[in-house]
């Protein structure tokens, strides 16, 4: 098997072999539409329902737009949450929260290479998020501090990632190589 250093050096070269590698995800025109739509949704909601100052809403929109355009989607997703966290009242309604999350997820889905993939990603993500939210989050939020919620979420996701990793090793017959 090829050594890890060699693999990491060839990651960028391999990325070049993917379709739409130039746009790094969906094609540019769709990317622009999705990005502007999500920002409009995010700060239109914020402007109307959260009573943000226009200058704050505009500044956040521009910042997220720039980050979302030049950096991978996860950075726009994270910065969007920070912006919302700053602007959001301490007790937001579930509807508002759902709308905000929907627009931020749209930024993340920009990374998908096709609409079919994006749809699958969105469906799968919604399922997992819903499960996590309904089963764990509500209970933990009511009974423990945010630190506990934070660590608990990290542990659950870490465990899930490791489970998928082990499943992949067994499924592809790479157990012996992994042990080496």
């Amino acid at each position: 098997m090829t050594d890890r250093t060699h693999i990491s050096s060839s990651v960028s070269e391999l990325r070049e072999l993917t379709p739409n590698s130039e746009a790094n995800g969906l094609q540019t025109k769709y990317r622009l539409v999705v990005l502007l739509g999500s920002i409009a949704l995010l700060f239109g909601v914020g402007r109307q329902l959260l009573a943000l100052e226009p200058i704050i809403a505009g500044g956040l929109a521009v910042s997220i737009g720039i980050i979302g355009w030049f950096l991978p989607g996860e950075y726009a997703f994270a910065s969007g949450h920070i912006g919302v966290g700053i602007a959001l009242p301490s007790e937001p309604s579930v509807v508002i929260l759902a709308l905000l999350e929907l627009s931020l997820w749209a930024l993340l889905i920009l990374e998908s290479e096709s609409w079919q993939s994006a749809l699958r990603l969105g469906t799968l993500g919604s399922g997992i998020a819903g499960l996590l939210a309904v089963v764990g989050w509500a209970v933990l939020y009511q009974t423990a501090s945010l630190w506990t919620v934070s660590l608990g979420s990290a542990a659950v996701i870490g465990l899930a990632l490791y489970t998928v990793h082990r499943y992949e090793i067994v499924q592809l017959g790479l157990v012996a190589e992994a042990e080496q």
């Binding site: 990491s8 391999l14 920070i82 931020l104 699958r120 990603l121 993500g125 990290a154 998928v164």
Partner: protein, 504 residues
């Protein structure tokens, strides 16, 4: 599944959001952190599914037409990749298939040992020339497939396909031809009876007992059957002593590495040693280089002698410097560089004919040459100082009427070889000469087939001349494919001659 830098970047982002959310008491930041974690998770699941599907359909094969190749000769290795049919809904993964060459092969670089298959393509082929550097087994391990998920979060490397093994043979004589005038020799040595009665195992005659016969020789079964005492006579058998004289002078180094005159003659000499070992015949060896005797092994029939000679022959090489043997009788025999440079290439008769022609020739060219002919030293004196002749003359006492003398040399020093063979024939039971024709070992192949054909004819007439000496057999040794090319030219010429009159 190995995480990339982007994966770790996302994890860091998620961790940052999580801690910030806890510090600022903002649950929405924790929602963001969980979202990033979920995003990683669904990418991992998707990548695993894609990989699993890919391995079900992909075909990666590497193959080589050749199973054996000589060291230094290029061989071709072909890599074929076919990702097969994948479901429409699942986007194809970009693939990089990398060959894993052995360290002992050259020709594979970072650039040509990998084949990239973009997501949009289904098949790829590549043929690479690989050259083994050392002899042995070349094992091309199964290729390594490397891929990455669509978002660049995970990579995976998997070994796919089968390994290919190729044997790299050391460069050695190929298509060895031993024969005369292009005809392959059936057998040069074998069981040796002397066709005379004597003690032995093969019965040749049954005769009546006569007074004086040894009673122990009575064949009692024949006596009982014939009612008269009979004696069975057996064919006498004896061991043959063989002395090998191997010319190691610089001209024996002609030819490509591993396929030199010396390498071809070595194969024949090894066969003699093996034959002697199988019959427990005594065998000896004398090597002669440019400076005189280089190796000497008096005849013996011990297993150690056979092993020693085999080892000696395998490591035998040309010797161009002065004699290396401490007890070389020719060390101070007066063989000078000039003697070697002006080695006699004519027999005495030819030399006399040449001088007579010059006497009758009044041209300026003849006038220029005459002083050289007049000032030359006597022929016998010059030949006597030549290494092979000097070596044989010093060893004539080793030869006997039962000795079979075998020479391994080339056609470079024709006059000397002729005199040596004559001398050996006078002192041995038989002489066998194995000659490597220079024309079959020219570097660069047979570029001028006409000239090669002429040279071969000249060689063959010289070989026949040696055969005309009583008790002498002379054979040519060399690469058969080159000889066949020359003989094919000869055959074409004959055919042309035959067809030309018909057309006229």
């Amino acid at each position: 599944m190995r995480p990339t830098r982007r994966f770790w970047g996302t994890i860091t982002l998620g961790g940052f959001l999580s801690i910030l959310g806890a510090i600022l008491d903002q649950p929405v930041l924790l929602v963001g952190a969980a979202g990033l974690g979920i995003w990683l998770l669904i990418n991992a699941i998707q990548f695993t599914r894609q990989l699993s599907g890919l391995l079900d359909t992909i075909t990666v094969s590497q193959s080589s037409i050749q199973r054996r190749v000589s060291v230094g000769d290029p061989m071709s290795l072909t890599l074929h990749v076919d990702r097969g049919s994948s479901p429409e809904t699942a986007p194809a993964l970009p693939l990089r298939i990398e060959l894993t060459p052995p360290l002992t092969a050259s020709g594979l670089t970072e650039g040509n040992k990998t084949v990239d298959l973009p997501s949009t393509e289904t098949t790829a082929d590549r043929t690479i020339a690989v050259t083994p550097k050392v002899a042995g087994t070349l094992e091309f391990s199964a290729p390594t497939l490397t891929t990455i998920d669509a978002n660049g979060l995970f990579t995976e490397s998997i070994t796919v396909g089968d390994a290919v093994t190729v044997i790299a043979d050391p460069r050695s004589p190929r298509n060895l031809h031993i024969g005369a005038s292009g005809t392959q020799m059936a057998a040069a040595y074998g069981n040796h009876s002397i066709e005379q009665p004597g003690p032995g195992l093969e019965p040749i005659e049954l005769r009546k007992y006569v007074h004086g016969d040894d009673i122990s020789r009575i064949d009692w079964k024949a006596t009982a059957r014939l009612n008269e005492p009979h004696i069975r006579k057996y064919e006498a058998e004896r061991s043959h002593e063989t002395l090998l004289f191997f010319d190691q002078r610089s001209s024996l180094g002609d030819g490509n590495p591993g396929e030199r005159k010396l390498d071809y003659l070595r194969e024949v000499a090894l066969a003699f040693v093996q034959s002697a070992a199988s019959m427990s015949d005594p065998i000896g060896f004398w090597g002669v280089g440019d400076g005189g005797i280089t190796e000497q092994r008096p005849a013996a029939s011990t297993p150690a002698q056979y092993d020693d000679l085999q080892e000696l022959l395998v490591s035998l090489d040309t010797v161009t410097e002065t004699a290396t043997s401490e007890d070389d009788p020719n060390r101070d025999s007066g063989v000078t560089a000039t003697d070697r440079a002006f080695a006699p290439s004519r027999t005495p008769a030819e030399a006399r004919l040449f001088a007579a022609r010059l006497d009758n020739d009044r041209s300026p060219f003849a006038a220029t040459l005459q002083p050289y002919v007049a000032a030359s030293r006597p022929y016998v004196e010059r030949v006597e100082n030549r290494p092979l002749f000097a070596a044989l003359r010093s060893l004539t006492r080793e030869l006997s009427e039962g000795t079979r003398t075998v020479f391994f040399t080339d056609d470079t020093n024709k006059a000397e070889t002729y005199e040596v063979v004559q001398l050996a024939a006078q002192n041995s039971a038989s002489v066998t000469v194995f000659l490597a024709p220079t024309v079959l070992f020219e570097s660069g192949g047979l570029t001028d087939i006409e000239a090669a054909h002429r040279d071969y004819q000249e060689f063959d007439s010289y070989r026949r001349k040696l055969t005309n000496i009583t008790g002498v057999s002379a054979y040519e040794v060399g690469p058969g494919h080159r000889l066949n090319a020359i003989l094919a030219k000869q055959a074409n010429r004959r055919n042309t001659r035959q067809t030309t009159p018909e057309t006229q």
